[in-house]
Amino acid sequence: MSYLSKKMARSIFIAVCISPALLLFILFMVVPTFEVFRMSLYRWGGLSSTQQFVGLDNFQILWNDMQFIQSFQNTILLIVLVAIVTMFFSLVFAAILTREKLIGGNFFRVIFYIPNILSIVVIAGIFSAIYNPENGLLNSIFGIFNLENWQQLWLGNQDIVIYSVAGALVWQAIGYYMVMYMSSMAGIPASYYEAAALEGAGKIKQFTAITLPLIWNNIRTTMAFYIISTINLSFLLVMAMTGGGPNGSTEVFLSYMYDQAYSNSTYGYGMAIGVVVFTFSFLLAAIVSQITKRDVLEY
């Protein structure tokens, strides 16, 4: 009896402790998410008291909306590109800064991390200046090396502008992921590398055979981060840097959702896009997590 009441008291204590957080989570996360799903079934401009139930009509229209499809393609391109490039450079820099005794290693850690603490609007401003066709850093460097053919209208050429946006996203993200990988790499015993070196393994072999497998769980986790953060940050960057242009060539999921919900007074349709974004990111994160599942190596 005394055991049960002790267990009961413990349960009540836990319930009391978690209930404020649970309440906030439900009110500000769960309920709004359900509300987005509900609103996606309505035709509503966003302000009036008249909401017309249209079932799945909004989703049917999405299916044939070429602008939405373009924003979908752009988002996927950004996710894949940003994930691959950021992961590659973050891992390389993390490995160098962890394994090699560089002069000023701490300085580089700080420098790499700085972009992550900058506001995305500041980053948009910095990269707009870098991409300035007349006196921007990028075209100026090509000019110095007599590579005028490489000079571009980085924010004006529809064929490359999405890559210009990706460049800014990668620059912003590298430091954050580098720090995450460094913390995992720091936990790998040095003796593993010493043993591998004695066996004749070079730096690259050590990286692929020891480092990568041992931090694989960390890499898996960051993959979900790449998907979610690219969807969120690309919206802010696009709004500040290109406004979705030229002619929708940098439109992404969330900028198109915003455009439809507010500028086009089709709030319900915007929420339908929100549902697709939610489902897409959830599914993609789950699929990537499943595909990259490996046995956990312990050390």
Binding site: I12, P133, Q158, G245
Partner: protein, 454 residues
């Protein structure tokens, strides 16, 4: 185990309560509407009028002076002002919660499109009777003070039914801006026809100058508007604005679109790269630096670029959009104006209408003018000085005024005339889109909107 059930039950209750609360918005909205129908008149009752005004380039003290004067003359009225640069973001959540300001100063054609949303949702109060009201403190009716043509365009009568829902407020002629000093130095005449424009374009190429640039593609709203007027007259313009079937396949429409394509050949090469919310002033700077000759803009550009560096002997010049035919073609300059309106769900509609009528008083007009805002009131241009008077006198030089916007429709998902018509200009200029593709896209959107017209 019991605790788990308890938590689960609590979760379900909370979710249900949340959804019921959200679902109830519909009912609460209609309650607010019912309440508003029992609208009080200003009479002698104490009224607190909530004014929401976009904070724009004009002096911040302007509204404070207006409010001070109005409250002094109307002891029973107190005015609460919300003035923000991001007015829509501040006000929209309040409105979604049923708390509507009584009167707005907010133009159409803004990215957040709050005004358009209310138009589409029949959320504006009919204020036609304001035109017949006597201006407070004067013995003249509003309609007799207002400049002709301002109260019967699609920008004030969005449903084209002869009823006014938005009062025209601060207006600004827009046209082609250029460096008058440079043209004088080179001995070049300001082109009045497109043929003259192309000739000047060829000459400017020899001088390594570009004929044309534009801040962002959205600035083509007034530029193309003037071209539609010039190409087919007011009836053609109205047909375009009301999505008339096949209108984009007419010769008048085709020559407008083809002119933009030809203009692309003379457009500064960096224009599209700078034509975004962050960098559009770089395109405006091209005019100040004598790198490009003309750009579409409004009179606000002078203030906007006041602190920007400029070429020696720089002097702002403004002209209309060129005519299509030599000698007999009309030239137009579009008149952009901001609107004042009352939400249908406002609490104090009558008091708000009286306040709008006061906006056309000499007292209010002088306060606005001091801050740089010009109203469409008879005789106002005589009070202007220097370059501003020159710009506002554009209509006295064989140039006709153009006004209006697209007719209101029910919201159509994925179909936006602004995106199709103006947004594609960047693609036409950088050669990614042909005129035929542009024409087809516009026609498709126009066809989608026509049946949804109110």
């Amino acid at each position: 185990m019991k605790l788990r059930y308890l938590l689960f039950a609590g979760l379900i209750i909370l979710l249900t309560a949340g959804l019921v609360a959200c679902g109830g918005a519909e009912e609460s909205g209609s309650t607010a509407q019912d309440d508003s129908s029992a609208d009080e008149t200003s009479g002698d009752e104490e009224v607190t009028l909530h004014l929401a005004a976009l904070e724009s380039a004009y002096d911040d003290e302007m509204w404070e002076n207006i409010i001070e004067n109005y409250e002094a003359a109307n002891e029973n009225v107190a005015i609460e002002l919300t003035s923000e640069k991001n007015l829509e973001e501040v006000i929209r959540p309040q409105m979604q919660a049923g708390d509507y300001p009584d009167v707005f100063l907010l133009a159409t054609d803004r990215e957040e499109a709050l005004t358009e949303t209310l138009i589409k949702e029949d959320g504006l109060e009919n204020i036609s009777d304001v035109l017949d009201m006597t201006v407070p403190g004067e013995d003249v009716a509003v309609k007799d003070k207002m400049l002709e043509g301002f109260s019967d365009t699609l920008a004030t009568n969005p449903y084209g039914d002869g009823e006014m829902y938005m009062a025209p407020m601060f207006y600004s002629p827009s046209g082609m801006f250029y460096n008058a000093g440079l043209l004088e130095e080179k001995g070049w005449e300001v082109p009045t026809t497109w043929d003259e424009m192309w000739e000047l374009g060829d000459e400017s190429v020899e001088e390594e100058l570009s004929l044309f640039t534009y801040p962002i593609a959205e600035y083509f709203d007034t530029f193309l508007g003037s071209m539609f007027y010039a190409s087919g007259g007011p009836d053609f313009f109205n047909s375009v604005m009301t999505y008339e079937e096949g209108i984009w396949e007419t010769a008048e429409a085709e020559r407008v679109l083809q002119t933009v394509e030809q203009l692309a050949d003379y457009t500064h090469p960096n224009t599209v790269a700078n034509a975004n919310p962050n960098d559009f002033t770089r395109n405006q700077q091209l005019i100040l630096d004598n790198e490009a000759l003309f750009m579409p803009n409004g009179t606000w550009v002078v203030e906007e670029m006041a602190d920007a560096p400029r070429a020696d002997d720089f002097e702002w010049g403004m002209t209309s959009v060129p005519a299509f035919e030599d000698g007999q073609g009309d030239r137009y300059a579009f008149t952009f104006f901001e609107q004042m309106w009352i939400p249908e769900q406002a609490e104090n509609k009558e008091a708000a209408k009286e306040f709008i009528a006061y906006m056309y008083s000499d007292e209010a007009a002088d306060i606005f003018l001091e801050a740089g805002a010009v109203q469409p009131i008879e005789g106002m241009t005589d009070k202007l000085e220097g370059q501003k008077q020159e710009f506002y006198s554009i209509y006295e030089e064989d140039v006709l005024p153009a006004m209006g916007t697209f007719a209101s429709t029910e919201p159509v998902p994925g179909a936006n005339m602004g995106d199709a018509l103006y947004g594609s200009v960047d693609s036409v200029v950088n050669g990614n889109m042909s005129v035929q593709e542009w024409q087809a896209d516009i026609q498709e959107v126009s066809d989608k909107l026509r049946p949804q017209m109110k």
